[in-house]
């Protein structure tokens, strides 16, 4: 089972975990991205996330379907937030439930790695004296 969402409100981690829990599963791995207060030694004030929503949902579904093909995973959830986020807030939650923990760990890591590579979502770092779209320039 797959649950994919892009939300402009705070992500509810407990609800994400509740959704993946099931009596057939023995292990859940959850990845939670959080906004760091610094990047490459520079103080970060806020992050802004923008998504090309229809395509981002599309690409996240592809990743989730891929995971269900590759690993014996029961449930996978990917929630990504958009808009302005403060330090410590959560842009992304990925939760994977499987009968055995190895599959949960591997699938969860694959999901965040692939998401960062292929899903059309963009992050702008807001500093004290300027802002920059991450990874835009070489």
């Amino acid at each position: 089972m797959i649950d994919i969402k892009i939300l402009d409100t705070p992500l509810n981690i407990q609800s994400c975990i509740d959704w993946v829990m099931s009596p057939e599963c023995g292990g859940i791995d959850v990845f939670i991205g959080t906004v760091r207060n610094a990047t490459k030694g520079k103080t970060v004030v806020q992050l802004e996330f923008e998504a090309y929503e229809s395509m981002a949902i599309n690409e996240m579904k592809k990743i989730a379907e891929d995971v269900l093909q590759k690993w014996p995973v029961q449930k996978i959830l990917i929630h990504h937030r958009t808009g302005l986020l403060n330090i410590g807030e959560v842009p992304v939650v990925i939760a994977v439930a499987a009968a055995h923990r190895d599959a949960a760990f591997e699938a969860c890591r694959y999901t965040i790695d692939t998401l960062k590579h292929s899903v059309p979502i963009w992050k702008k770092e807001v500093f004290e004296n300027g802002e920059v779209w991450v990874a835009a320039h070489p």
């Binding site: 991205g33 996330f49 923008e50 998504a51 090309y52 229809s54 395509m55 981002a56 599309n58 990504h80 842009p91 992304v92 965040i112 998401l115 960062k116 590579h117 292929s118 899903v119 059309p120 979502i121 963009w122 992050k123 702008k124 779209w133 991450v134 990874a135 835009a136 320039h137 070489p138």
Partner: protein, 80 residues
């Protein structure tokens, strides 16, 4: 043929807008669209890379754009 092009992230800054309209001849390919845009917006060439999406899918250079397709410029992604 008139093409509406959606912009995200830094491309929105480059276009100065969340979408622009551009005019292309005949049945243009993705490659031709890119050339035309790069001529009009040279800052596109300074990006680490960028892709074109057609109907919510990453498109190849030779893909032909058809009337009604949803076209978007995808600069390097950085979600997560």
């Amino acid at each position: 043929m008139k093409i509406n092009v959606l912009a995200f992230g830094i491309v929105k800054d480059i276009f100065g807008s969340a979408s622009i309209e551009t005019e292309l001849n005949g049945a243009p390919t993705v490659e031709e669209l890119k050339s035309t845009l790069e001529e009009k917006y040279p800052r596109l060439k300074q990006l680490a890379s960028y892709m074109v999406a057609v109907n919510n899918e990453y498109a190849q250079q030779q893909q032909v754009i058809e009337t009604g397709d949803e076209i978007a410029i995808i600069p390097p992604v950085s979600g997560g």
